[in-house]
Structures are given as structure tokens and as C-alpha cells.
């Protein structure tokens, strides 16, 4: 289970970072969202993974899950959600104000050499 979980976090982080490094705002926002999913899963695992454990401290339970990471994840989800909403609005505003959806606010100028290279 640990392996599958670690792979999930790893793949989400990789995709998140890849998309965040793209040049247009839409992939960047999606990348940030994936990154925040990865973070939430990661935080959740910091209290160790366990199956069939009691949720909170009980006198008779021998194993219980750590409740703190769940509280942390809840906080992180709320904050992440608000931030994503803001990033989406900002990206739309930038599209309207600047006339394109590039993160730098202007499209990179394509010189003749680079287009010539791309042609087979």
C-alpha cells in the first residue's frame, strides 16, 4: 500500500511541476491544482498509513490513527481551494487585460531561424 501511495504522490507532483513550468496560464493553473493534491496526500501520509485503526483515542483501542495530519490536511485543502479560485480569476483577468494567455503577458516572438528549424 505504501508503494502505491508513494507512486500516486510522486506522479501527481511530477505532473504538477511539469504543467507549472508551461508557458500558458491554463496549464499552470492545472499544474498548481495537481501540486496541491499531491501536497494534501503527502501531508495525510505524514501521520503514517494504517488500516482498521481507531479514528481518535479510545481507551480500549491499541492502534489509533494520528488525528493531527487530518486537521492539517483540512486546513491545507481550504486554503488551496481559495488560492486556486483566485489563480483562475487572475488568469482570466490577465487574458482580458493583456490580450493573451501567456504567463509573461506577451507571446514569445518567433524568429525565422526557430521556425526554419522546426520544419523537417
Amino acid at each position: 500500500m505504501e508503494m502505491a501511495y508513494a507512486l500516486c504522490v510522486g506522479i501527481l507532483t511530477t505532473s504538477g511541476i511539469f504543467l507549472t513550468l508551461r508557458g500558458r496560464t491554463f496549464p499552470v493553473v492545472v499544474g498548481l491544482t495537481l501540486l496541491s493534491y499531491a501536497v494534501n496526500l503527502f501531508l495525510f501520509a505524514s501521520g503514517r498509513l494504517g488500516i482498521d485503526d481507531a479514528a481518535v483515542l479510545q481507551a480500549e483501542a491499541t492502534n489509533y490513527t494520528d488525528p493531527l495530519p487530518q486537521a492539517l490536511v483540512l486546513t491545507a485543502i481550504v486554503i488551496g481551494f481559495a488560492m486556486t479560485a483566485f489563480a483562475v480569476i487572475l488568469a482570466m483577468r490577465a487574458r482580458a487585460d493583456l490580450g493573451n494567455d501567456h504567463v509573461d503577458g506577451r507571446l514569445p516572438t518567433i524568429t525565422e531561424e526557430s521556425t526554419a528549424k522546426e520544419k523537417p
Partner: protein, 502 residues
């Protein structure tokens, strides 16, 4: 007055909420008076807290009486109260300037300003690193909105970079917190400091990765070399009072580095002691070099001041890298000076660009300013202070910092980097002054005078510089005692953990 410690968070929060409600939300004049009143009260409260902390008493405010390390704690020691006083004075002056008309550019300026201050104060007061993250987010989301306040292409473009970078930074922050919680099992700063020295060797590598990820995040906030490229554009695009308030945001990063890498990963951290120092040395020198070049290359006054902010961050980093009590004392003196003077200069740049018409604050010949004397005196004080010439506080700060370097090894790097930075700043500021004040093309056709409030705000900030020199003895004594307390904290953790820890 046992609840005094939480008031710097509660007052801005409650005022911000009140301003969104009907009797106040409709009228700008009511919002202004409430803002100024709240910030005035805040200055008095933080001053009282500072005096209280000056008696070497560390106030631990336990919310809801849940004893640490389980509950949420606020810690008001010398360092946090010093930063609180700094932020409230800065907030008051910026608000004074904004009340002259900048708050009319868009809606909700005053509530946003209050929430921003709440985040800053919270970050200084909190005693555990997860709440540090939460308050970082509070101040960031307010700063996103304040940055774009008023609108315009420049602001939107700067905002996109600023927001995306900081969202990535927040993710890294959470990863680091997850790693530290997974290895150490706590997030309370004092408890972390207690446990980090007893860490099993197998977990040390993971914990050090977490610690260095924290350094990356704080480095992004405080604009350390590879992560500083966002700063000049962001600060020069923001409206003047917002840029002035942002002058303390980089210092929030410096404060966090100081707190985390002195108390948790300081001298008493066993195998992880001084984990950041080998990284901070080269970064400090490189930041100074990059900022020196940036200062010389700036083409407008606002950009120049933004680069001077980076230069001051480089100077502060040198003090951090030395990781000794006397260097930290000098650093804190320089931090107070550079925050107030940079903020004053941002406000001044806005007045200059108001009076120069279309040329704004770019270094080109333009019409003469119609109040050259008042603005010129302010510029002269600000320039001498930020460059670090006597008789102003920049000189004292730099001299204290240079005095605390060790002659073998350190001085060979520190002296040239800081002195060349100062020289570049001197050249750039004198060139800027010459162009802005003397290189005039024509007489002003209409005089658009700056208001008394604006001048008062600028002089309030800039006159702290001579005050810091006149009261240099008591102030530097305070900062040295603060450094002493901070560096001794990892040996007196029982003061911060009344419950004895877990």
C-alpha cells in the same frame, strides 16, 4: 493585561470585518478614521508589549488553555515584539499616505490592508510552524488582492508571476511541514527544537531535506538570489502605500529564517546543527552582487528602490550566515532601519512621479517639480540613509555588521561585497537625484501639490533614520539583548513549554 499578546492579531481582524459591514462599509471617511484609529492603538499596544518583553520575560499565550505542544501558542519574546512594533509603525505611515487618495482607486482597500497586517502580525507572534504557514497564507492572499488593487496592465502582469510563484512556494512549505511532522512528530517550534537533537540517524537525512525546503520557501519570500527575480517588477508595479507595506514582507522571510534556523536548527540541534549556514554564505554574497548590478541598471526610481530592497536583503543574509549573537544583533538594527527607509522611499517615489507628469519616475529630463524643496529634503535624507553614509542609521547598521565579522576568512568576502554594494547605491542614487531634480526641460504648467498627509507619512518614515542614530545606544542594546535571547532559546526551552513537552 494577560490578553495583550493576541490583540495585534485580533484588532486588525475585527476592524477588517467591521469595515465590510453596513455603517462603515459605505463611507470612505469612516473607513479611514477607523483604520487610522486601529493602527494608532496597535502602535501603542505593540510598544507596551515591547517594553514588557524588554524585561526579559517571554510571554507564552496559550489559546484555549490547551497546553503546548498540543494547543496553539503565541510567543511574545523580544524578537517578535520588535517586529510587531516595526510592522505597526510601518502600517500606520502607509495608511496615512493612502488616506490622501490612493485608497480611492478601487474597492475594499482598507479591509484588505487590515487583513494583510493581521497576517504579518500573526506570522511574527505564532509559536508553531503550521500556524506560521497559515498566517503566511493570510498575508499572501491579502497581498495578492492589494497588489492588483486599482488595476492596470503592469499590475496584472506582475500579479501573475507573484501569485504563481507564491502558490508553488506554499506547496513546498506544506511538503516541508509534512516531512518535519513525519520525522519529529510535532510542529511546535520549541518542541521541535527539543526533539531534533534526539533524532535517529536514519531519519536525519529526511529531516534535513525538510529543513532545507523551508529555507527555499523563506528564500522565496525574502528574495534570496535565484528566487529574487519577481521582486523588482512586483514592487515597482504596486501602488505606493502597498509597496511601502510590502517592504516588510521580505523581512517576514528573514524573520522566519532567523527563528527556524536559530531556535530549531541552531547550535544545539545535534547532527543537524547550523544546517543552513553552508548555503547562506554563497547565497548572501551572490545576492549582494546581483543586487549591485541591478541597482546600477535600474531605469526608474521605483525599480531602483526595489533593487535596493534586494541589496538590503543581501546585507541581512550576511548577518544570518554568520549565525552568531553579535551578528544577529547588528542584523536586527539594520533590519529596522532598512524596512522603514525603503518604505519611505517608495512613498517618496510616488510623490515624485505625481509631480513630473508623463515622465513619472523614469530617469529622463522632464518638467520641474513644483515642490522641489520639501521633496528634495526627503530624497536627500532617504538617499543618504539607504546608501549608508553618516550621520544616518544605514551607516551605523552597516558599521555594526562589519564590526561583527571575523577577520580571518569572513571579512575578505563580506567587506568588498557590502562596500561595493554601498558604492553602487551611492552612484545610482546620486545619478537619480541629479536627473530627477536638476535635469529639467521646462517649468511646470500646472501645480498638482502633494497633500500634507502624504508629506507627513514620508517624513514620519524617513525621520526614524536620524532617530535611530540619536537613540542608537538604547536601540542597539535592545537588539543585542534580543539576539542573546534568541540564541539562548534552544537552551531554555522549558520557558516555552509550560507543560513540559511530550
Amino acid at each position: 493585561m494577560e490578553h495583550l499578546a493576541i490583540l495585534p492579531i485580533l484588532i486588525p481582524l475585527l476592524c477588517g470585518v467591521l469595515m465590510l459591514l453596513p455603517p462603515i462599509s459605505g463611507q470612505l471617511s469612516r473607513q479611514r478614521s477607523l483604520s487610522l484609529a486601529a493602527l494608532g492603538v496597535l502602535v501603542l499596544i505593540t510598544l507596551r508589549l515591547l517594553l514588557q518583553a524588554g524585561s526579559d520575560e517571554i510571554e507564552v499565550y496559550v489559546l484555549g488553555d490547551w497546553q503546548p505542544p498540543y494547543g496553539i501558542v503565541l510567543v511574545a519574546d523580544r524578537l517578535s515584539t520588535l517586529m510587531l512594533l516595526l510592522s505597526s509603525v510601518l502600517g500606520f505611515a502607509s495608511m496615512l499616505y493612502a488616506c490622501a487618495g490612493d485608497d480611492r482607486q478601487g474597492a475594499y482597500f482598507h479591509p484588505l490592508f487590515m487583513f494583510q497586517l493581521m497576517g504579518i502580525n500573526g506570522a511574527f507572534l505564532t509559536g508553531d510552524i503550521f500556524n506560521l504557514f497559515v498566517f503566511f497564507e493570510v498575508l499572501l492572499i491579502a497581498s495578492y488582492a492589494l497588489l492588483i488593487h486599482g488595476g492596470g496592465k503592469q499590475k496584472t502582469r506582475a500579479s501573475v508571476h507573484y501569485v504563481v510563484l507564491n502558490l508553488v512556494g506554499s506547496s513546498i512549505f506544506l511538503f516541508a511541514l509534512g516531512i518535519l511532522y513525519g520525522t519529529l512528530g510535532t510542529l511546535n517550534i520549541a518542541d521541535l527544537a527539543q526533539k531534533v537533537s534526539q533524532l535517529a540517524p536514519s531519519e536525519q537525512a529526511i529531516a534535513s531535506a525538510g529543513a532545507l525546503m523551508l529555507l527555499v520557501v523563506f528564500g522565496l519570500k525574502s528574495a534570496i538570489l535565484p528566487l529574487q527575480f519577481w521582486l523588482p517588477r512586483t514592487y515597482s508595479a504596486a501602488s505606493a502605500p502597498v509597496a511601502a507595506l510590502f517592504a516588510i514582507l521580505t523581512k517576514v522571510g528573514i524573520y522566519s529564517i532567523l527563528r527556524v534556523f536559530t531556535v530549531i536548527f541552531g547550535d544545539d540541534a545535534g547532527a543537524l546543527a547550523q544546517i543552513a549556514t553552508p548555503w547562506l554564505w554563497p547565497l548572501a554574497i551572490l545576492t549582494l552582487i546581483a543586487a549591485t548590478i541591478g541597482v546600477l541598471a535600474a531605469s526608474s526610481l521605483r525599480q531602483l528602490i526595489a533593487q535596493l530592497v534586494v541589496l538590503s536583503v543581501g546585507t541581512l543574509l550576511v548577518g544570518l550566515a554568520m549565525a552568531r549573537s553579535e551578528a544577529t544583533g547588528a542584523l536586527l538594527y539594520y533590519l529596522v532601519h532598512s524596512t522603514l527607509v525603503c518604505a519611505g522611499l517608495f512613498l517618496l517615489a510616488d510623490m515624485i512621479s505625481q509631480q513630473r507628469g508623463k515622465a513619472e519616475d523614469r530617469f529622463v529630463a522632464a518638467r520641474r517639480m513644483c515642490q522641489p524643496v520639501a521633496i528634495g529634503i526627503a530624497f536627500f535624507i532617504g538617499a543618504l540613509a539607504i546608501v549608508g553614509l553618516p550621520p544616518f542609521s544605514g551607516f551605523v547598521g552597516k558599521a555594526l555588521l562589519l564590526k561583527s565579522t571575523l577577520l580571518e576568512g569572513e571579512a575578505a568576502w563580506v567587506y568588498p561585497a557590502i562596500l561595493f554594494g554601498g558604492l553602487a547605491a551611492l552612484i545610482a542614487m546620486s545619478r537619480a537625484g541629479t536627473t530627477l531634480f536638476w535635469h529639467t526641460s521646462r517649468e511646470p504648467d500646472s501645480c498638482d501639490r502633494v497633500s500634507r498627509l502624504q508629506l507627513a507619512a514620508v517624513f514620519l518614515l524617513l525621520l526614524t533614520s536620524p532617530l535611530l542614530v540619536i537613540f542608537g545606544g538604547p536601540v542597539s542594546d535592545f537588539t543585542y539583548d534580543t539576539a542573546e535571547q534568541l540564541h539562548g532559546m534552544s537552551r531554555s526551552l522549558h520557558l516555552l513549554l509550560p507543560g513540559g513537552g511530550s
